[in-house]
Amino acid sequence: MNKLWELYIAWFKMGLFTFGGGYAMLPMIQRDVVEKKKWATEDEIMDYYAIGQCTPGIIAVNTATFVGYKIKGIAGGIIATLGVVSPSLIIITIIAAFLTNFQDIVVVQQALSGIRISVCILMSVSIYKLAKKSVTNIFGITLCVLAFVMSYFTSVSTVLLVVVAGICGIIKGRISHE
């Protein structure tokens, strides 16, 4: 019971302070889920993100379900997911009910431009940490650059790209196991 509550609160916080989609959640996951609570390792989070990319649904929600399930089974998965969507439910309902021109309010715009800089700071550190762990050799560098180029400059489906990366991993495994 206690663990479920802990899961709910942790993911509620994550939903509350994530601006701009599931990737922006990464710094918080690294700090709270990996370093503080030790619910998952950095590698596992990467795997969840990869799987979240090529399975249906929103990445943030998928990652919450994964971690919740790992810690406390099906109930954990459901509770973590409810935690991550609860802040949205509350905040959006309030905004929709009371503020018709929310995004035109000057203070909101100013706060958001400040937050955007914060997101840049957090993301650069997170990406650097990840790169240091998994982009360690020429194989990793090639795949990382390839992923960036293909996903930023072309419209090839991410699902297909992730599958190809997996196949590259298998081929590399075959070669180095021999």
């Binding site: 790992k70 439910l89 009910a97």
Partner: protein
């Protein structure tokens, strides 16, 4: 009532077929608006703007907004739950399989390829935030193409964040306060 059920079904389908981030839900919403006339293009763009400027995953924010506008608090809750239901089902099935196959050499090899790849994907997804926040491409001369104040805050913030190991939430809150104080 039947419209509420229809809405839940539509959002369940969106959750089931939108692969990738919150942005992937936009085409589905567009189609929903056209088919059922629940909202027009203007409302959709307002929805996207609000979702982008509030915390939480964008797809969830949009589902709540649509549900609330059409059917009040209950509508918002039901559309949101419908949107995340497929994720919960699919991910629990996969997590189950992953546990079983984790020891397999093949699965480990697959992830050796995927991990560095995901770093590239994340970089691609974030690069536009970096570019629009720290640079101003509309400026005429080269020197002004960098938003100096933003860049300065970014660099100082980066050093402070790393040196004092601040909590990410504190960084977000400080950013918001600085934004208001400096009128960014």
């Amino acid at each position: 009532m039947s419209e509420l059920l229809l809405m839940m079904w539509e959002f369940f389908k969106t959750g089931l077929f939108a692969v990738g981030g919150g942005l992937a839900t936009i085409p589905f919403l567009q189609e929903m608006g056209q088919t059922y006339g629940w909202f027009d293009v203007d409302t959709l763009s307002t929805m996207i703007a609000i979702s982008e400027s509030t915390p939480g995953p964008m797809g969830v924010n949009m589902a709540t907004y649509v549900g609330y506008t059409l059917h009040g608090v209950i509508g918002g809750i039901l559309t949101t739950l419908s949107l995340v239901a497929p994720s919960i089902i699919v991910i629990i099935i996969i997590a189950n399989m992953l546990d079983k196959f984790k020891q397999s050499k093949l699965v480990q090899d697959v992830f050796v390829g995927i991990r560095p790849f995901v770093v590239g994907l994340i970089l691609a997804a974030c690069i536009d935030i970096f570019l629009t926040t720290l640079f101003d491409f509309s400026a005429l001369d080269i020197l002004n193409k960098i938003s100096w104040l933003h860049m300065l805050i970014f660099v100082i913030g980066l050093v402070v964040y790393e040196k004092f190991k601040l909590h990410p939430i504190l960084v977000i809150v400080l950013g918001a306060i600085l934004g208001i104080l400096l009128g960014l």
